[in-house]
Structures are given as structure tokens and as C-alpha cells.
Amino acid sequence: MSGKGPLLALAVVALCGAALAAVGADASQAGGPFDAAIEKAQQRVVKLYGGSLGREKGYGSGIVVSADGKIVTTLSILLEGRTLRVVLPDGRRFPARIVARDQRRQLALLQVDAFELPYFELNGSVHLRPGDWLIAAANPFKVADGPEPVSVSLGVLSGRTSLAARRRAQDFPYNGPILLTDVIVATAGSAGGALVDADGNLVGLIGKAVISKQTNTWLNYALPVEEVAAFVQESSAEPGREVPKPSPRAKPDASRLNLGLRLFDVGGREPPPYVERVRPDSPAWHAGLRPNDLILSIDGQQVVTCADFREAVNKLRPGQRVPLVIKRREEVVTLELTLEEPSP
């Protein structure tokens, strides 16, 4: 991302300029429609400084989630340095200690000895629709120095999806729901910052910069506030909690539900689920599946690879009747598959 940084930064500035000019031209000279939201967000986002290693920067952002100094940020190398310093929005500097880590969500809960801080309520993000305004408040490229308020950028909620991403060559452990935005937040130092709605309510925490497996692009996203709330709650119930990384998925057991079906799974990177063999009188046979069919979806869930198919099948229960969409020559055919009860 190193070469891209300045370009992205320029883009952020350009977008804000355009959007604010658009709103500002007619809306008001005395104050913009987002003044209150921006002030609220800036009072609740902190700057973090810590260790650095190679390309991993030693700075970042965090959000205040309690009046007595609890801060949530993303896991990163900057937390692992000898010192971890927090600069509050009012300019005061505090050493911070790590209270809890969540390897799955890639979040950390920090504590500073400060009181009566303005903090974000951890409510919800479900009220947002694609196209709704969002404001990112964070410290990309640590351009906000000392007590300066963090940078704010304007954009919209693009949509929601679940994360399938990688960082460097590794799969990113979090694969839960995310908010997508068109604010460029995949920038150094933005992770841990706040994504707020037009009223300044926290709706998400800007996630670590990752590359989407779906698009091969840097992803501009945030963890929904609901995930942040769950993390804070779990950590408070059990201080010192360390949620380990989920173990690499065990190879799903396709034989658990016996479909009577073998896929043309010759290995290779990601083989598509072509049917190689169907056992006569099996559930697959009765559904009408035949060799050389390509399975497109099962129970409404799209499957692209053999692994997808196995995973989808393992979510089904014996006795269930599910639609199965296949491609046979140039036709898309919908079949119905009835899963048999497992034999004793």
C-alpha cells in the first residue's frame, strides 16, 4: 500500500472537498449539517502511538467506549511495543495497558487512567441503509498532530457483506459481518477509528486494512458497532480475556450426510463442483443429479468450489428438503434434494 498512500490521501481530500462543497454551497454559511456529528466523533476518537515493525506503522486510532477510560482499537503491532501511548481528544497523554484481546475479531480493549471522558454509546447500525451518509473519524498518516482533532471524511454506507479477506499472504481471521463504505479508510493509521452516522452515533469501528478475496482490492470497511459491543461485553465479564484465533477450518466432512454423490474434486486451487459420480438410489440420484452436472447453489447458497459445496451441505439437517440449482449443458435446472436420515 506504500505507493498508494498519497494517492488515496488525495482522493480522500478531493472527495471531502466535493461533497462538503456540494452540501455547503446551499445549506449554510454559519454551520454545516454535519457539525454536531463531527464534533461528537472527534471528542471520542483517540490517537495511539506504540511499536512499529517493518511496514507496520507505529500509530493508529481508537475509540473511547466508557467514561472511565476504556478504549477499543484493532489488534496490531503498535500494541506490542515497549510503550503504548494514548493521546485523548483534549490533548492529554496517557500510558495505556491492554485489558483484553480478541484474535477472531482482531480487536483489543485498552485502559487509560482517565475519568469523565466523553464516550461512544454502543448501540446499533441496523438503521442505516445503503446511500446513507457516514463520517469516518480517524488519524490516517498521523496528520493530526498532538492535540489537533482527528481527520474526518465524508461518504456513504455502500452496503453490508461478510468479510472474506487476506492480509499479506494470510487469511484474515475475522469473517463476520462488515459495513462497506466509499470513504477511503484502508489507510495507514485509520484502523481503530470511528465510523459515525449523520447524527454522530457510532455505527462501526474502522477495521485493519485487508485485501478482499472477492475483488482483490483494498477494502474500505468497518466492524459493525454490534461486534464492538459484544467484544466489550465479553471482555468486561471476563477481564484478561484472550480470544484465540479460530483454528484453521478442519476439512468439512461431506460424508456426514450421505448424499450418494462424488464431486470431480481433483485438487488444484479451487475446483468447481462438477458431479463425477452419483450412486443409484441415493438422495442425489432421487433429486435427479447426474454426472457432469455443475452445482451452482444449494439451499439458496451459492457454491463456487467443491469446498463451498461441502460447507453448505454440512449446514443442512437430515430430513430437510432443499432446492439445488445446477447447470446441465446450457440450461440452469432447479432440483429438489431430500436429505435422508443418517443410517444407525
Partner: protein, 408 residues
Amino acid sequence: MRCVPVSGMAFLCNDGKPFLRRHGRHGRATHCASTLRSPRSFLAIFAALACAPSLAAQASDAAGTVSQARLHEYQQQVFRAALRAVQPSIVRIDTIGGAQPVRRASPVGGGAAPGFRQADGPTTGLIWSADGYIITSSFNFIRDPSIITVTLHDGRRFVAKLIARDRPARLALLKIEAADLPVPRLLARDQLRPGQWALAAGCGHGSDTPAVSVGIVSAVDRMSGLAVQTDAKVSPANYGGPLFDLAGRVIGVCVPMGPGEDEIADAQWYDSGIGFAVDTDLVHSRVQRLKHGRDLQRGLMGVSLDTRAPVVGLTPREPVDQPPTDGLRIDAEPRGPAADAGLREGDVITRLDGIPVPRLPDLRRVLARKVAGDLLAVTYRRGESVRTAMLTLVSAEAFREPSATQPK
């Protein structure tokens, strides 16, 4: 909450640039412009047309104007409505099989040329005709997939046939066997202006509804006139999807364009605030040709032109003759169509299809909208005489040296 009445929006958006203060200009926009010159009256119209009654009552004063602090709420509703209007025409494309192309070696350094890998996720297309033609970007088929499926907004899924690709405009045409598909409303090129709102949407992130990005039209006539430029985020997540206005009318089809020679290199400009969409006029004319099933290639004349005119910031290595000011001088013996049409080294090309081409960008603009196989009228000056020749543009293939098959 009631839906924003999209038909009402059309009036507003004929004018296009609702939030930016604008200057009355020529043409059809003028009557709107005069109405909208005052922010107060604009807000009143906006409230009357675009808002749910309850919200309007809450946020309007006695005079019926919108409280400025709530303006963004109405904007949000308009964005939502715009997406709703275009959404039925947006399709999700899934591809199966195929391989990443092997990148050409870079001419300098010998390493692989910088490239962008197309990912495994879904991509986006736009219904172009009710009988099943889908326009999308050629970027989505870099791997030459063996199977392409199209999923409609209503959930129906079809196997699609890739009819042809348009290499210069980075478009591709698909066909599915379906009828009565929802065709989007289109916005003609002459109705576009820099500054008007523009939204991009696409299925690339795999979400249930297309992911949307909001921006404005940055320029109408970029890339030698092939594309509209926008600061809405354009990326593999929405290549092939629509760029549309606040009424959900399609401005263009998002494509990767940039300084590179192909869609792979140009994808590197994704999400930069510099995005491109092929305008609907050009899409329309290209679809007519793509339907014949042949890929469209850049059309070449077979001339090498004197481009030694001084360039700002570059010092010429050798003394430059004063270049002709009314045309472009051919500086090497022409080949291919130009040679066949009788052009020679030293001729000065003054017009293409009757359009003056005093400089290279002028020539590029004429050629950009043409493809290999098109006829071109070349007017040139030789000495004192001015002549016009007709030639048929050819693709780069035609100039490939046969030496590859010949022993050296």
C-alpha cells in the same frame, strides 16, 4: 416511511446538479436553472417532491422551506431512492473456470508487466434490453471463464453467453434467454455536466444488494471522449455496473480506464477518486455492433505521425522544424490501410471525417469512437494540393510482423 416519488425526481434531475449552485446555461436546463437559482426555492421544491410528509412537517418551517440542518436527511432519501430505481436492472455475474492470463513481459526490465489479478468474487452487469442483452465490462472476463451465469434482481439465475468484447471501451455484451427484463432509464451524453451527482453500484462485494458509492461527475468527455469521469469510487466491485443520477437514470457503464493499454493495467486506478464510465450513447452504438458476435478492436490507420511539436516540460533532443499548424505530418512511409489509400511520407493529414485535426489529441478523439473495420475519410495536403482518401481501419493484428513464422 413513504418512497421518494421517482417520477417527481425526474423534473429535478433533468437539471442534474441540484446541490451545487449553478449558472444558467444554454439549452433545456435553463428553465430549471432559473427555478433553482435561489437556494430557498430549491429547498422548497426538494421538500415538496422528495420527502416523506411526516419528515417534511417536522423539518419545514411555516414557509415550507427545509430546515438546513436536516438537508442531509433528504439527500439520504434521494440516494436510497436512486438505488431503488436502478437496482432491478443490475445483475450479478458469476464466472467459473478459466485462468489468469499470462502477463506480457515488460519492454524494460524484462519482468512481468504490472498487473491486476481478477478475483474470484462476483461481478456486475446491467440489463440493456428486455430480451436478455446484458452490458458489462470486459474486465470481468479476463480469465476467459468456461461458464458465466447471470443472477437477476428477482433471484432468477441464467447461463449467459459472452457475445463479444469491445476492447477499446472495455465493454462486453452478454445474452441470456429471458424476456420482459426491466430495462433502466438512460441519461443521454448531452445531458451530463460536471458537478452533477453520480452514484456507482455493483455486486462485487457479494452483498445481497449492490454496494453503492456516491460522488459527482468530474468531467464529461475524458479518455479521448470515450468516458465520463467521476469521483464516485469505481473498482472491480462495480466494473460493469451503472453510474447513475439521482433519479436512477444510467449515466454510463463503469469500466477500468487509465494510462494503461488494457483493462488489467487500468484497474490499478481503482477507488482513487478518478473513475470512468462509458456514456450510454457510446454503449448504445457499440451494442449494435457487438451483437454481431465479433470483438471490437482499436482501429489503426497505419501512419506514424510527426509528434515533435514542443511539449511543455520536455526539451527536444534535436532541433525541431516548425511543425505544420493545420495538420499532422506523416513522418515515415505509411503501411496498411494508409499505404493502400495512397498516402505517403510527408503528407499532412488535416481532417478526419471532415473534422480538423491540427493536433494529436484531435486525431485521437476521432479515432477513439471508431473501431477496426470502420471507414475513415482522410483529408491530406501534399505540396499544394489537398486530397481526400477513404480507408478502412484495421486492428493491431494486421501489423504483426510475419517474422514470427519466418526463419531469420
